[in-house]
């Protein structure tokens, strides 16, 4: 079984530029999560999807962050414009139910 795929693995941008991350969850997993993880901290949920529906986006900074999961499979997370404080690892995870989550390798974002 292929794992959660994320791209790119690394991204360096200047502040005020846009950036997008892509996630392909494990086949058959209806639930998809986007997390942000700062160094030395636990993952912080940004948004959770059940199929195409965003069921929890309370922690998503909606002024600059957006996400979509068209067709209930792949998902993209976008930041526009990026700020210095957005530097972090962005993790995507998926699960078949609301139990065990499988994480992708993450995208390490550096905003200069």
């Amino acid at each position: 079984e292929a794992g959660v795929v994320q791209s790119p693995r690394y991204k360096i941008i200047e502040k005020k530029q846009p950036v997008a991350f892509w996630c392909n969850p494990i086949s058959g997993h209806n639930t998809l999560y986007w997390y942000r993880q700062n160094l030395g901290q636990g993952p912080e949920l940004l948004i959770r999807y059940e199929n195409e529906e965003a069921v929890d986006d309370s922690q998503l900074p909606k002024d600059r962050f957006s996400a979509e999961r068209l067709k209930g499979v792949d998902s993209t997370l976008k930041i526009q414009p990026a700020e210095l404080g957005d530097s972090a690892v962005y993790l995507c995870a998926s699960s078949r139910t609301s139990n065990e989550q499988f994480f992708g390798p993450g995208t390490r974002l550096t905003v200069l």
Binding site: N99, E100, F103
Partner: protein, 111 residues
């Protein structure tokens, strides 16, 4: 918002010594999950505890869920270098299955 307190933040041990990390919540939890994140890696699921007072073992790892379902612990017996990493608890507080993550405990093996 709701928080899960995880302690300690770091634990330095000699190889062969034991390691324990604790998670505490002020509210009753629906269930709690434990994950391990190796340096430079991503979190990997270890186990889920659901029942009050539940104890589960995986080789040298022992997981406990408190009777009141407000706290949990992970204990590693006789640590090995392969145990190095950060251990996170992630707690579900209601049927909505939103997970609240602890800050993690970093296990460091002294050379």
């Amino acid at each position: 918002g709701q928080q899960v307190m995880q302690i300690p933040q770091y634990q330095h041990v000699q190889e062969g010594e034991d390691f324990t990390t604790y998670c505490n919540s002020s509210t009753t939890l629906s269930n709690i999950q434990w994950y391990k994140q190796r340096p430079g890696g991503h979190p990997v699921f270890l186990i889920q505890l659901v029942k009050s007072g539940e104890v589960k073992k995986q080789k040298r790892l022992t997981f406990q869920f408190g009777e009141a379902k407000k706290n949990s612990s992970l204990h590693i017996t006789a640590t090995q270098t392969t145990d190095v990493g950060t251990y996170f608890c992630a707690a579900a507080v209601d049927s909505n299955y939103q997970l609240i993550w602890g800050a993690g405990t970093k296990l460091i093996i002294k050379p």
